[in-house]
């Protein structure tokens, strides 16, 4: 990923990344933990507030219901007159004036013909009016109270019940209690007592619940109707279910059903009334009448302490990370500085400046060791280069000496080619290609007298300087020994004896000598272990001179014989060393005698010595195809042409 980035970058990146991952993990865990703690705490405190408020509200409802029940008992146990009932209701309401001003009115409504067998309707209604108590008789064709909820509810349910809140200048709710009488041994429904409670105090009581300034509470009836709410428009107009429908909030509907079922709980609340933010709702029932108190608090405000902590931690985290980043970069740069210097120095050394400055490092750490190793390498390199220079100089000297040696060696051989240009009887041409700077092959030709030409070819065992020296000795010997009085066998015998005498190096020479009578074309020859020469007869194919007269010269003090042959005019004698026939190609195949024979035969059309030697050399070169030459190659061709064709 960061192939081209510096070490300092990589190090900083990975360390910082690791630290961030670990820190975020710890941070998340701590935050979750604190949140759950906070939530628990808030839940507990909200539950406490909710339940204590519900209890407080319950008190009034409980007192009102107690009053209703007491009145019912009185009506069950005594048959009061119209006046007595009026007095009772008035007195009761008066007694509540200071303790429970919320109780707005009381009424008693009899079932048809139960108060008076002649009267279908009998109802007395006593209410607070203008600081006093007002009594009214009511009921009739215009007000058939038997069909109203407050009457039918307790009658059909056969127990006391709180009515749903209703609007009567202010929001009210009635506690309605059925009362019964024994008639003919049966308990007969006789009428209904109502205690009517003004609920205006509720709004105040509920609105005093404050949570972190932005929470609010509301109260719903046992069928979900909103009784108190900060948004006055909702009061009595909406139910928690119509609100849920409007918001398309199924959770709120489910919570509402839990509320009217008398359960308590804590649920997410889609929208806070004012802030519209995600909120929570806690709800708990009023025990007296099945109503339910809901408390809404916005999540973010409640958890603002946690949020504050999160911001602080985050800020510290960012600052810490920046500091850490600085330190890491500084350390990384410090650590890698010698490396950078080393890199630069190495570059310089690479480009030839072996004395480039290495960083001075005191520390004995990996970088220090590396630096020392580099310094040692630098010193070794300098030394090596010095040695190399010396060696190269020595080698150059040797090479120069060898070149001189070669020149000297070549100087020993007859240089003027073709020789004897003035001679009409024969033509001659020779080449010697050494495998090394100096070679061990030799060839020679010289007149013994004006009619006789001595021709020699040889191949010293081994190569290089020793072979070349041995060759020089051989060349010097036969030049010194040969004279017209001796035949080729005697000369070779003498040369061999001279060489083998005190021959501690055990070197030897394969040696072929011939003496040509340039007038007659007769040749006498002695072959001491050398490759047999060929004679290309003019117009008569090729002949191999295969006679041998002993081992190579220098091996032992032996006597060598001789043979003779006649060269006819135009015949060509071809001498060569084993460098020709043993030349190897890439497949380790030798050039061979047959291939040589073919090449010489092919030269029949132009049998001049120069052509033959060059053709053979070219064929060998083609055959070896660039392979390194392993042995010296020497070819010598002699054409007998007494009729003056030698110049052709």
């Amino acid at each position: 990923m960061f192939k081209n980035r510096s070490l300092a970058f990589k190090q900083s990146f990975y360390i910082l990344l690791s630290v961030i991952i670990v820190s975020v993990g710890i941070f998340s865990y701590v935050t979750c933990y604190v949140w759950s703690l906070m939530q628990e705490g808030i839940e507990t405190s909200t539950r406490n507030i909710g339940e204590s408020t519900a209890n407080r509200l319950d008190q009034i409802f409980i007192e009102a219901s107690r009053l209703g029940k007491q009145l019912a008992i009185q009506f069950e146990n005594s048959r009061m007159t119209d006046e007595e009932i009026g007095k009772l209701l008035t007195a009761t309401l008066e007694s509540m004036q200071y303790d429970r001003p919320e109780i707005y009115s009381l009424s008693v409504a009899y079932a048809p013909y139960c108060f008076d067998k002649t009267k279908e309707y009998f109802m007395i209604y006593s209410s607070r009016k203008d600081g006093g108590i007002k009594l009214e008789h009511t009921g009739g064709a215009d007000y058939e109270y038997f069909y109203y909820n407050w009457y039918t509810l307790p009658k059909t349910l056969e127990h006391a019940v709180w009515t749903e809140p209703y609007f009567d200048e202010v929001v009210m709710s009635s506690y309605t209690v059925p009362f019964y009488r024994e008639q003919n041994g049966k308990r007969e429904f006789t009428g209904v007592i109502t205690v009517d409670l003004s609920l205006s105090w509720l709004q105040k009581a509920v609105s005093t619940i404050k949570l972190n300034n932005s929470g609010y509470a509301f109260l719903i009836s046992k069928f979900g109707r909103i009784i108190t709410h900060p948004d006055a428009e909702r009061i009595m107009n909406e139910t928690i279910f119509s609100m849920a429908e409007e918001r398309e909030d199924k959770f709120l509907r489910d919570a509402g059903r839990d509320m009217i079922a008398g359960k308590s709980g804590l649920v997410p609340y889609k929208k806070h009334l004012i802030s519209q933010k995600k909120s929570w709702m806690f709800y708990t029932p009023l025990q007296s009448n099945g109503w339910s108190l809901g408390i809404i608090y916005p999540e973010d405000q409640l958890f603002e302490a946690v949020a504050g902590m999160e911001i602080t931690i985050f800020t510290l985290f960012v600052i810490g990370m920046l500091l850490l980043l600085g330190v890491i970069i500084w350390i990384s740069l410090k650590i890698t500085r010698p490396l950078r210097i080393l890199t630069r120095a190495t570059g310089e050394i690479g480009s030839g400046n072996f004395h480039a400055a290495m960083p001075e490092i005191v520390a004995n750490d990996e970088i220090g060791k590396l630096s020392k190793a580099f310094s040692a390498m630098q010193a070794a390199l300098i030394r090596h280069i010095e040695n190399l220079k010396e060696t190269t100089a020595a080698k150059e000297k040797i090479e120069s000496e060898l070149k001189i040696a070669k020149d000297i060696q070549l100087g020993i051989l007859p240089q003027l080619l073709p020789p004897f240009p003035e001679c009409k009887e024969f033509s001659l041409y020779a080449v010697l290609n050494s495998a090394k700077a100096v070679g061990g092959d030799l060839y020679d030709f010289f007149y013994l007298d004006e009619d006789h030409l001595c021709v020699v070819i040889g191949d010293v065992s081994g190569k290089g300087v020793p072979a070349s020296l041995f060759m020089a000795v051989t060349q010097t010997l036969h030049r010194g020994i040969a004279n017209i009085k001796m035949n080729s066998g005697e000369i070779v015998t003498k040369v061999s004896k001279s060489l083998s005498h005190n021959n501690e190096t055990s070197m030897f020479v394969t040696y072929f000598m011939l003496i040509l009578n340039i007038r007659t074309g007769e040749i006498q020859y002695t072959n001491a272990g050398h490759n047999p020469p060929f004679i290309l007869r003019e117009g008569d194919g090729i002949t191999k001179i295969s006679s041998r007269h002993g081992p190579p010269v220098g091996v032992a003090e032996l006597d060598y014989g001789l043979d003779s042959e006649i060269l006819n005019p135009g015949d060509v004698l071809v001498l060569y060393t084993d460098g020709v026939t043993e030349a190897m190609n890439i497949n380790n195949h030798e050039f061979g005698e047959n291939r040589l024979l073919g090449v010489i035969t092919d030269c029949s059309a132009n049998p001049s010595p120069v052509n033959i030697t060059k053709t053979i050399l070219a064929a060998v070169s083609k055959f070896t195809a660039g392979q390194e030459q392993s042995d010296d190659i020497t070819i010598l061709a002699l054409r007998f042409a007494p009729d003056g064709r030698a110049a052709e």
């Binding site: 058939e144 509810l153 059909t156 749903e164 009567d168 979900g224 009595m236 107009n237 909406e238």
Partner: protein
Amino acid sequence: MKLQIHRTFFALPLIIISAFLFSTAFAQDQEVKAAPALTKVVFTPQWFPQAQFAGYYMAQELGIYNKCGLDVVFQYKPPQRTLISVLTDKNADFVTDFLSSGIKMRSNGMKVVNIGQISQRSALVFVARKSSGIKKLEDINGKKVGIWMTDFQEVPKALLEKHKIKAEIIPVVSGIELFLCRGIDVIAVMWYNEYHELLSSGINEDEITTFFFNDYNLDIPEDGIYCLRETYEKNPEMCRNFVKASLEGWQEAFKNKKRTLEIIRKYCRENHIPYNNAHQSWMLNRMEELISPSGGKYVAGFLSPKMYLDTAKKLKSTGVIKTIPPYNEFYKNVLNGNTVPGKDENISGKDENVQK
């Protein structure tokens, strides 16, 4: 405990303000200076602003009444006052009322005529809790059934009688509280109104069994437009224009419900009536199904002879009326000729529909 208790749960505060509204309406009357070409008419719906009357508010707000040469003033009556008295006292030119109430008025000799039958279906429905074991109509046997003490209370009774169901009838003045408290097992409610109040009181639809009256051959449609016969005879053009514009208003109401609800909210505000969007939205959708069963595109506003006779016969057989007034005397097709608009099967009395 206030002695005056009204019918609708949601409109409890209205009782206090109704008298005020009624008196101020006249004051408003005098302030409104109609353009010279416009005929001023007073219209009184059964109840305070709500989606049940959406079409009339749309006709007013979109200027359809004005376009038809009318300057319409909306005027509300106190709940305890009957619509017939509003007409006979000439406090209004046009009122809306249930078809059963209209037939009853006419049968009792009141000189009123129906000039437009807006509702085409009955919205009455019996609702029972599944938990009370009521799954089919026969299960109501022996149960307590709450029925409101109104002009049409005979219709639910007739349904029970027709199916030979013996149930304890509990007369209810208003509301659904008795049902919510389980004081009764079954309650007859209006689909567009109290049915939704049940849902808004925490009852889920899958918890109740419903018996729609129109599924039991008791399809008595409700809201229609009424006026005095005298008014009709004196000014048939005005009646025609009012019905025509109102029908157009209804079509507009269903076309753009969001706008309609905004207008209803506006009327509620103006009349100090609390507005409950969920409830009004429900009501508007249900009114569409009742008024335009074809799917809101077409509002017939027509009372076919068959619909009339079926309803009248049912009322007679249940003892609500003694005699059936002649169709042509009860219903005046003011749209004159555009009588049989088409797909509604109930409108099958085309041939007998002899108009003046």
